[in-house]
C-alpha cells in the first residue's frame, strides 16, 4: 500500500507545531475578520460607535459560546434527528442494501486480492452514501426551517445561535453515526460472508513427489479443489506434517482424518485474509553505489516516482532507521516484512528471484559496516517476511546479540541491498517495516468507519455553515463544491501551482475546444493572453480554496483497512485533531452568520 511518509509522524511530534500554526492561522483570521467588521460598522455609524459595536458583538459571542446549555443543544439535536428520519434516511439505507445485493456481480472473488476489493468496495460505497446524505441533511435543514418560518418559534425562545448551529451538527452527526454503525455491521458480515470459503481435498488429489522410492511412505503433494477461482498447493509429509501454500493472501488449516485405513483431508476456513498488520515504520535514507548518503535512489524509468531503486552488486542500499525498538516489544527478534519491487536489466535465472540481503547496523557507530543477517530471494507484490533473530553468527565467527550490539537507545538501522549485479531493487519508506502483533481486524474495520465519520463531520459543519446564509439548493451546491474541492484538493493545488499539463482552466478549455494537445505552446494572440490572465486569477482562487478546504481523500482510511494495515492511534489522533481543527472555526463562522442574520426577513 502507498503511504505518504508525512502521514506516519507520531502524534505528539505532529501536535505541537501543528497546533502552533493552527492558532496562528485562526488568530490571523480573527484579526482580519474583526478589522473588516469594524470597517463596515465605521462606514455606517462612525469609528467610535463602530468600536463599541464590535466589542458588543464579541461580548455577545463570548456569552453565546460560554453559556450554551447542553439541554437546549440536545433538544435541537433531537429535532434534527427527528427531521432526518422524516426526510427518509431509510431510503439511503435501502440504497445501501440494494448496492450490496448487486455488488456480487462486480466483485470478483477470484481477483489477485479479493479481500482488498471487497473492503475497498464496502468502505467506498458507505462513504459515498453517508457523505451524500450528510450533505443533503445539513445543507437543507436550516433553509427549510427559515422558509417555513418554524425558526420564528425557536429563536423567540431563549435559544442562542450557537446552540442552533451546534444542535444541528450534533443531531446530524448522531443520525450519521447510527447509520454508520448499522452499515458497518452489515458490511462486515457482507465481507466475511463474501470471502469465506474452504476447499476440498481428497486422497486422489495427492501424488507422491518425484523421486520418492515406491513402497516407502512418501511425501505427497497436490492441489485442492477450485473455489473462488484458485487452488492451494498442498504438501503432506509421511510424518503427517502439512503445509498449504498461500494463494490470494490466505491459507487454510489442513487436518488429516484417519478412519482405519481410509485417510481423508479437511481444510479449514480461510485464514489471513482479513488482518490488521501493525507495522512499525522506520525512516528511509538511501546510499548510492559508492556507499555515500543520497537523497534518492535511481529511477528505472517508471512514471511513478513513489519508489526509488538501488543497484545490485554495489554499495547502494536502502537504509531504514527504526526508533524505540526494545527487547520487550520484540523478544524473539525483528519480524521484518517488505514489499520490494524488482527491476531486471537482464533475464538472469528465470525460475529464481533476484537475491537480496538484509543487514543490521548500530546507528551510533557510523564507522561500523552493516552486518549481513539474511539473504533472501525477491518476491514482488506480496509481502515478503524475513526474521532477524536476537542471536546470530557474525561473518567473523563471533556470536552477536541483536539488542546488545546493534540497538542503541532503541535505534537500529536495517540495510536492504541487492546482491545480483546490475539488477535493481526499488522501495519506498512504507515498504519495509517491522511487524508487531496483529491488531484486531474488526477493530481496524471500525476505525476505517471512523474515518468516514470524520469526513462526515467535515461535510456537516460545512453544510450547516453554508445553510446559515444561503438558500437550500445553493447551500447544497456550495457544500457539494466544497466536498469535490476537498476530494480533488491535491489536483487543485497542482493546477494552481502550474504542475499540470495544459495550463490553467481557461487555457485547457481552449485546448479542449480547438483539440490541441496538452504540451504544444499556445499560439500568441489576444485569445491566449486573455486566457492566461484569467488563469492567473483562477489560480489564486484555486490556491486559496486548496488551502482552506481540508484534503478529504486523506481522511479516508479505506486503503489501510483494505490493504490489511492497522490504523495506528497516531494516525487516528492526528486526523481527529485535524478534523476538529477544521470543524471549530467553521462552527464559529456558522454561529456568526446565523447570529447576524435577520430571521424574520
Amino acid at each position: 500500500m502507498v503511504i505518504d511518509p508525512k502521514d506516519v509522524v507520531p502524534f505528539l511530534t505532529w501536535l505541537l507545531p501543528a497546533l502552533g500554526s493552527w492558532l496562528l492561522v485562526v488568530m490571523g483570521v480573527c484579526v482580519v475578520v474583526t478589522a473588516f467588521g469594524w470597517l463596515v460598522a465605521a462606514m455606517r455609524h462612525g469609528p467610535i460607535r463602530a468600536f463599541s459595536i464590535t466589542s458588543h458583538v464579541f461580548r455577545n459571542a463570548w456569552g453565546d459560546l460560554v453559556r450554551m446549555s447542553p439541554q437546549r443543544i440536545w433538544a435541537l439535536a433531537r429535532l434534527a434527528i427527528h427531521e432526518s428520519i422524516r426526510r427518509r434516511v431509510v431510503v439511503v439505507f435501502g440504497v445501501f442494501i440494494v448496492v450490496l445485493l448487486f455488488a456480487g456481480w462486480f466483485l470478483d472473488p477470484g481477483s489477485v486480492d479479493p479481500a482488498r476489493l471487497y473492503l475497498d468496495f464496502v468502505l467506498t460505497a458507505t462513504s459515498y452514501l453517508v457523505l451524500l446524505l450528510a450533505l443533503f441533511l445539513s445543507s437543507l435543514s436550516l433553509p427549510t426551517d427559515l422558509k417555513n418560518r418554524t425558526m420564528y418559534t425557536v429563536v423567540t425562545k431563549p435559544v442562542r445561535a450557537s446552540e442552533i448551529v451546534l444542535g444541528r451538527i450534533v443531531g446530524f452527526m448522531a443520525v450519521g453515526t447510527m447509520l454508520l454503525v448499522v452499515m458497518g455491521a452489515i458490511s462486515y458480515v457482507f465481507v466475511e460472508r463474501g470471502l469465506a470459503h474452504t476447499h476440498q481435498l481428497s486422497a486422489d488429489d495427492l501424488q507422491p513427489v518425484e523421486g520418492s522410492t515406491p513402497g516407502q511412505p512418501a511425501t505427497l503433494q497436490g492441489k485442492t479443489s477450485l473455489v473462488h477461482q484458485h487452488r492451494h498447493k498442498v504438501i503432506v509429509t509421511p510424518s503427517g506434517q502439512t503445509s498449504v501454500e498461500t494463494e490470494q493472501g490466505h491459507i487454510h488449516a489442513l487436518t488429516i482424518l484417519k478412519d482405519g485405513d481410509k485417510v481423508s483431508y479437511k481444510l479449514g476456513p480461510a485464514e489471513g485474509m482479513l488482518v490488521a498488520r501493525v507495522p512499525v515504520y522506520g525512516k528511509l535514507t538511501f546510499r548510492d553505489r559508492k556507499g555515500q548518503l543520497a537523497a534518492k535512489g535511481v529511477n528505472v524509468g517508471d512514471e511513478w516516482t513513489y519508489r526509488s531503486f538501488i543497484e545490485g552488486g554495489t554499495l547502494a542500499a536502502c537504509v531504514w532507521t527504526f526508533e524505540g525498538i526494545t527487547p520487550k516489544q520484540f523478544p524473539n527478534g525483528l519480524p521484518v516484512e517488505m514489499n520490494i519491487e524488482v527491476f531486471r536489466t537482464y533475464k538472469g535465472e528465470i525460475t529464481k528471484g533476484v537475491p537480496g540481503s538484509l543487514s543490521v547496523r548500530n546507528p551510533s557507530k557510523p564507522d561500523n559496516k552493516p552486518v549481513e543477517v539474511r539473504i533472501f530471494e525477491s518476491k514482488e507484490f506480496v509481502p515478503n517476511s524475513q526474521h532477524i533473530p536476537t542471536q546470530f553468527q557474525m561473518p567473523n565467527g563471533k556470536r552477536a546479540d541483536l539488542f546488545r550490539d546493534f540497538v542503541d537507545n532503541g535505534r537500529i538501522e536495517l540495510w536492504l541491498q541487492c546482491v545480483a549485479p546490475q539488477q535493481y531493487f526499488g522501495a519506498a519508506q512504507a515498504d519495509l517495516y517491522l511487524r508487531a502483533q496483529n491488531a484486531s481486524f474488526a477493530w481496524n474495520f471500525a476505525k476505517g468507519y471512523f474515518g468516514i465519520w470524520l469526513q462526515m463531520l467535515l461535510i456537516v459543519v460545512l453544510g450547516v455553515l453554508f445553510s446559515t446564509f444561503l438558500s437550500g439548493p445553493v447551500a447544497m451546491l456550495a457544500t457539494l463544491g466544497a466536498l469535490l474541492g476537498g476530494f480533488f484538493n491535491d489536483f487543485m493545488y497542482r493546477l494552481a501551482t502550474g504542475q499540470t499539463y495544459g495550463g490553467g482552466p481557461f487555457e485547457s478549455l481552449i485546448r479542449l475546444w480547438t483539440q490541441q494537445n496538452q504540451t504544444s505552446p499556445m499560439e500568441p494572440g489576444l485569445q491566449t493572453t486573455t486566457a492566461k490572465a484569467l488563469d492567473q486569477v483562477a489560480e489564486y482562487f484555486l490556491l486559496g480554496m486548496s488551502t482552506i478546504l481540508p484534503d478529504f481523500s486523506h481522511f479516508s482510511f479505506a486503503d489501510y483497512v483494505a490493504c490489511g494495515f492497522n490504523i495506528s492511534s497516531d494516525t487516528l489522533l492526528t486526523f481527529t485533531c485535524r478534523a476538529l481543527a477544521f470543524a471549530l472555526p467553521v462552527f464559529l463562522a456558522a454561529y456568526f452568520c446565523l447570529k447576524n442574520r435577520e430571521i424574520g426577513k
Binding site: 440536545w74 422524516r86 418554524t150 420564528y152 423567540t156 425562545k157 431563549p158 430571521i599 424574520g600
Partner: protein
C-alpha cells in the same frame, strides 16, 4: 413608572433593502411606543401598515435600521429576554412532523425547564387548549383551529410575563374567537402583559386596554380605547322600554337645551368609524398625526 414599562420603542425605524442594499420599503418610521405591565395593548392597522414588523423588531427577529426596541429594559436582540416572553406567530409555524406532546416538550426543553415541571406543564396546557384527544397526532393532520391552539399552548409553555400575539383570531370560527378573547382577558387577569396586533377591529375593541393605530409605517393614534372612542360633544343615550310619548318628551328636553338630536337607535361599532376616518384623513393629509394623546 420605569418598572411598569414592559415594552418600549424609541423612534424605531425599519427600512427593507434588496440584495444590492437599495432601499425598497420604509416599513416603520420612528415609532415610539410604551406597553405597561398588566395591560392588553393592541396594534391596529390595515395589511402592510407595519404591525408585524413592529412585533418582529420587538422580538428581535429583525434588526432595527435606527432607533431601539427594549423589552423588560433589555435590547430586543438579547436572547435572555425570551425567557419571559411567549410568542404566537401569525400562522402557527410549528414542526409538522411532531405531535402535540412532542411539540410542547421540545419548546419546554428550549427553556431548560426541568423534566418533571415540563411534563406537568405540557399536560396542563394541552388540557387548557382542549387538545387532549389529539395529543398523539402529528401536527400535519391538525385543522387550522387546532394548530392555532397548540400554537398558543407553545407560547405559554414558559408561563411568560409578556405574551405577544400576532393576529390571534385569524382563521378561528366565532366560538374559537370568543374563546381566544376570553383567554386573553384571563391572561391579563393573571397579571401578564399582552401585546397583540390585529386588523380585526372587533377583537381589539373588545379586549384591548390601549391601542395604537398604524398606517403606512406611521403611528396615527394611540391611547385608551374608552377615551379614544369618547366623543366629548356627543352624548349617546340608550334607553330600554321607552314609549313614543316619553321619547317625544326627551326630544323636547334636548331641544329646549339647544341640543340637536342626531340619531336615536342602536349604536354602530364606532372603532370602525374611527379607523376608517383615520385612514381617510391620512390619505388626504399624509404624514399628519390625527389627534394628540
Amino acid at each position: 413608572m420605569q418598572s411598569e414599562t414592559i415594552v418600549e420603542t424609541r423612534s424605531l425605524s425599519k427600512v427593507y433593502r434588496d440584495f444590492w442594499g437599495r432601499q425598497k420599503v420604509r416599513a416603520l418610521k420612528a415609532l415610539d411606543l410604551e406597553v405597561r405591565r398588566g395591560e392588553i395593548f393592541g396594534l391596529l392597522g390595515p395589511n402592510g401598515s407595519g404591525k408585524t414588523t413592529t412585533i418582529k423588531l420587538i422580538l428581535g427577529l429583525l434588526f432595527p435600521t435606527s432607533g431601539q426596541a427594549l423589552v423588560f429594559g433589555r435590547d430586543a436582540t438579547d436572547v435572555t429576554k425570551n425567557q419571559r416572553i411567549g410568542y404566537l406567530p401569525e400562522e402557527s409555524y410549528l414542526y409538522r412532523f411532531l405531535n402535540a406532546e412532542e411539540t410542547l416538550d421540545f419548546y419546554g426543553r428550549l427553556f431548560d425547564i426541568p423534566r418533571a415541571v415540563r411534563r406537568q406543564r405540557v399536560a396542563d396546557l394541552i388540557e387548557m387548549v382542549g387538545l387532549d384527544w389529539a395529543k398523539r397526532r402529528q401536527l400535519k393532520e391538525y385543522s387550522k383551529g387546532m394548530t392555532r391552539r397548540i400554537g398558543l399552548a407553545q407560547a405559554l409553555i414558559n408561563d411568560p410575563d409578556l405574551v405577544v400575539l400576532d393576529e390571534p383570531t385569524t382563521g378561528l370560527d366565532p366560538i374559537g374567537t370568543r374563546e381566544m378573547k376570553d383567554l386573553i382577558l384571563k391572561l391579563r387577569d393573571e397579571g401578564k402583559t399582552v401585546l397583540m396586533c390585529s386588523h380585526l377591529l372587533a377583537d381589539v375593541q373588545d379586549v384591548c386596554d390601549r391601542i395604537a393605530i398604524l398606517y403606512q409605517g406611521e403611528l396615527k393614534e394611540m391611547g385608551r380605547v374608552d377615551s379614544l372612542l369618547q366623543i366629548r360633544d356627543v352624548t349617546e343615550i340608550r334607553v330600554a322600554g321607552l314609549n313614543a310619548m316619553a321619547q317625544q318628551e326627551v326630544r323636547e328636553v334636548i331641544e329646549r337645551n339647544n341640543g340637536h338630536v342626531l340619531q336615536m337607535g342602536n349604536p354602530t361599532t364606532t372603532l370602525e368609524d374611527l379607523f376608517l376616518k383615520i385612514i381617510h384623513e391620512s390619505q388626504e393629509h399624509p404624514g399628519r398625526r390625527v389627534r394628540g394623546k
